[in-house]
């Protein structure tokens, strides 16, 4: 059951000999995914068409990249609410750089650097242990939203045509390019969490920060590293989104932070940290994407969609396995 020594999440809750009601939570996500697929497929045959499935993949990619990064933070007991605003700022940094220099590579670099620096700043603030990451990143989120409006003058920044060709229109082997970025982000964060010292330390800090500190783990450095790495991932998502939208918008990231956190938590990583996996996050992102798509195909009015999504998030969290 737990052949890998690095999967603390797998060994929890295996003690009970008989299934208890809450253990449904272990399979709730798979059941929900299956239910959405079956119901939608019956309601609208177009759902299972290749085109539609590829469309879903295209649509969830940006969220998926952001959620992959957020998973590492939640595992470590951290949280970054500013990823949405960071998405806007880093995307604008990329687009503005392209506009100024005409070089797409420089633009991409600027987006990644901006995202990483913002993540690093968040990490330094969080590692100071002066306040809860929720409050700290709520502050940086608000600040960055302001920055986004200021540097863009409040209007979209166009000119990222090469990125649009790559991510907005481009596909490889019939699969839209953003899906590859999503897959790469998942693979990278999976590797970090399961094989890299930084990831192991994330589990340790999320599980018991004081014990981890007393084990000689440089907790502050690890936190800065995790937030910076998350910032880099957000930078990647920003470049992706800028390409998809063919421009950078000062408000394009708003809401991503909460959807990303929702996807991670639906995927079984608790806000309290210490356990969780990127695989679960993939499930969470898929569920959010499938439900949105399904509601469109089934003709659920736009007014109801948010309410339904909210119910699903709440139900998923309530069904989750308690420790």
């Amino acid at each position: 059951m737990t052949e890998a020594t690095t999967s603390p999440n797998a060994s929890a809750g295996k003690k009970a000999p008989t299934p208890r009601p809450w253990q449904i939570g272990r399979y709730a996500l798979l059941i929900a995914l299956a239910a959405v697929v079956v119901v939608t497929a019956i309601g609208n045959p177009r759902f299972l068409s290749t085109n539609n499935l590829l469309n879903i993949l295209f649509q969830i990619s940006t969220l998926g990249v952001v959620a992959a990064g957020q998973t590492m933070l939640l595992v470590s007991g951290g949280l970054d609410l500013s990823v949405g605003a960071n998405l806007s700022v880093a995307g604008l940094a990329a687009a503005l750089t392209i506009l100024a220099t005409g070089s797409t590579s420089l633009g991409v670099l600027a987006g990644l650097v901006a995202g990483t620096l913002i993540g690093c700043a968040n990490g330094l603030l969080v590692a100071s242990n002066r306040a809860n990451p929720f409050i700290i990143t709520l502050g940086t989120m608000t600040f960055l939203q302001g920055v986004a409006v200021v540097i863009s003058g409040g209007s979209p920044v166009n000119g990222a045509g090469a990125l649009f060709d790559l991510f907005g229109l481009g596909s490889t082997f019939g699969i839209p390019n953003p899906a590859y970025v999503f897959a790469a982000a998942l693979a990278a964060t999976w590797f970090v969490l399961s094989r890299v010292m930084l990831g192991r330390y994330a589990y340790a800090i999320g599980g018991n920060e004081e014990a981890t500190r007393l084990s000689g783990v440089p907790v502050a450095r690890v936190k800065v590293g995790l937030y910076a790495l998350n910032g880099l991932i957000v930078g990647i998502a920003a470049v992706l989104l800028t390409g998809i939208l063919d421009s950078a918008l000062p408000n394009m990231g708003i809401g991503y932070e909460l959807r990303a956190i929702a996807a991670v938590v639906i995927g079984g990583t608790p806000l309290s940290g210490g356990r969780g996996s990127v695989l679960g996050t993939l499930g969470g992102v898929l569920l959010l994407g499938l439900v949105s798509n399904s509601m469109n195909l089934l003709g659920v009015g736009a007014n109801y969609q948010s309410a339904v999504l909210g119910l699903i998030i709440t139900a998923a969290v309530l069904l989750q396995k308690r420790t």
Partner: protein, 511 residues
């Protein structure tokens, strides 16, 4: 000292019949009968994993037996839940009593059943009045309005007991109640238990301290491997008898101790170390291969001294490690220099419970099984298996989460972490607290082995036998100063106890 049972055998206040409970196919309890009469103090003893905690949890309604029957007074049930157990009159005080340190004593006692005014508001005055009355009835003098966090551990426990018996408890379950208490606090607790029993409450007393169980209990139930091996009257058995029943065989005497004579270069040397309010001009040398035991009353400074020696707490004065100045700015630096600390409080300060035993053991020197930041899982597992073998870890499988291990094995994992970190100086708090006899012997043997390989070991303990068995030198602290040193060779526990107690009035300062 057993008081004996009343002449007429009264109906059992609580009775469990043919209780069985399996976890993952392993029988934790195998058709166990258990019965306690009203007014009786009943000891429940056994090694870790013998089934004590499982039985306790079943009686408290926190676990569901697979089969059997429970009777409390005239309530009969196949299984209880915490609420039905409480209604039937069962009260529990767990080892880590769940109290709210930021609330007052009175608020803690009435938490969940607050008294209300006519406007349905919380009636604090009535709560404090009732709490005072309850405490007075129990013979306790505690300030009801004080914040619980300001009281010491013994007083907090008294609050937990008062809270437990408030709602007319007929059965009181106590899990290792003296784990954190010193001698006089224990004596006080025993008087409290006797007076509760005299009021007709059936008290179940779970402990590893057989002397205490023999002193307080009327009868004792011994569990071994999930089976009841006997129920004995406390007055009719000796400690050796109990040990044999618990272990299933006579336990071999203390492992052989090798003590080298002659002066050796100190590995760790503390000179005039002070920490206002805690330590006052303390000097201590520990040589490679030496095991030094620190002890004293609560607040005497033994724990603080250990924490300073480990580099966990900073203090004034000079410390040298292997001749070089040692003033680490972080635990990270201390461990890198070969000084490891094993805290008593495993849950809060020791283990990452959700992680595997292997991951816990490699945590302090993860780089040793990694290359350029990437962990080699195969190598980590091999190292963990090797450590598990060295420490007699059971189960051997190091991929089990730390939370699934017994207390003794959790402590072995923590020691394993220090071993893996290549500690030249190992500082431990209460190394065998809450650990069964066999695990205790294993831990002592391993620590001796580590010392023989050249480690300097410092441990803090309030366990007299442990100090005498394990230490090469016992240092008694009092009021932040080194009071006396003892050679444990041939030292009688009573002499050591007298020396610890002699230090002065039992003034309590919080560590």
């Amino acid at each position: 000292m057993a008081t004996g049972l009343p002449e007429t055998v009264p109906a059992a206040a609580i009775e469990a019949r043919a209780i069985s409970k399996a976890y993952e196919g392993t029988l934790a309890l195998d058709v166990v009968d258990f019965s306690v009469a009203a007014g009786e103090v009943h000891g429940l003893v056994g090694k870790n994993g013998a089934g004590k905690s499982t039985l306790l949890r079943i009686l408290a309604g926190a676990a569901r037996p697979d089969s059997g029957e429970i009777r409390i007074g005239d309530v009969r049930a196949v299984a209880l839940n915490p609420i039905t157990a409480q209604r039937a009159g069962v009260a529990v005080v767990y080892q880590n009593a769940e109290l709210h340190l930021n609330l007052s004593v009175a608020a803690n006692i009435f938490l969940g059943s607050e008294l209300r005014t006519r406007l349905r508001l919380v009636d604090n005055a009535a709560i404090e009045r009732e709490a005072s009355a309850l405490l007075a009835r129990l013979g306790l003098t505690l300030p009801v309005a004080a914040t619980l966090g300001d009281l010491d551990i013994a007083h907090r426990q008294q609050v937990a007991i008062a809270k437990a018996v408030r709602a007319n408890a007929r059965v009181l379950l106590l899990d290792e109640p003296t784990a954190a208490l010193n001698k006089s606090q224990t004596d006080f607790l025993f008087r409290l238990i006797r007076s509760l029993a005299a009021d007709g409450i059936a008290v179940v007393y779970i402990s590893h301290h057989l002397d205490e169980v023999l002193a307080i209990a009327d009868r004792i139930t011994v569990l071994r491997n999930g089976r009841r091996v006997g129920v004995v009257t406390a007055g009719s058995v000796s400690k050796a008898d109990l040990v044999e029943m618990i272990a299933g065989h006579g336990v071999s005497e203390v492992s052989e101790r090798r003590r080298r004579s002659g002066k050796r270069e100190p590995m760790l040397s503390l000179r005039s170390v002070s920490l206002p309010g805690y330590l006052d001009d303390v000097s201590l040398d520990v040589a490679a291969g030496e095991i030094v035991g620190l002890t004293g009353l609560t607040g005497a400074g033994a724990r603080t001294l250990a924490s300073v020696a480990a580099g966990v707490t900073a203090a004034q004065g000079a410390i040298t490690l292997g001749g070089a100045p040692f003033a680490p700015r972080s635990v990270h630096e201390a461990i890198a220099r070969g000084v490891s600390f094993v805290a008593e409080d495993m849950r809060q300060r020791g283990l990452v419970m959700a992680m595997s035993a292997a991951a816990n053991m490699t945590l302090a020197r993860l780089g040793a099984v990694a290359r350029r930041g990437v962990i080699n899982l195969g190598r980590e597992r091999a190292e963990a298996v090797r450590l598990g073998h060295f420490l007699d870890l059971t189960p051997r499988d190091p991929s089990r989460a730390a939370m699934t291990l017994s207390g003794g094995n959790q402590r072995k994992v923590l020691i394993g972490r220090a071993v893996f970190a290549d500690a030249r100086v190992l500082v431990l708090e209460e190394p065998t607290q809450g650990v069964d006899i066999e695990a205790r012997r294993q831990i002592h043997d391993r620590l001796r082995q580590l010392a023989d390989r050249g480690a300097a070991i410092i441990f803090v303990s309030t366990d007299l036998e442990e100090l005498i068995e394990l230490a090469d030198r016992i240092v008694i602290l009092d009021e932040g100063r080194v009071e006396r040193e003892f050679d444990p060779e041939g030292l009688a526990p009573e002499v050591l106890l007298a020396a610890i107690q002699a230090g002065g009035p039992d003034e309590r300062r919080r560590d």
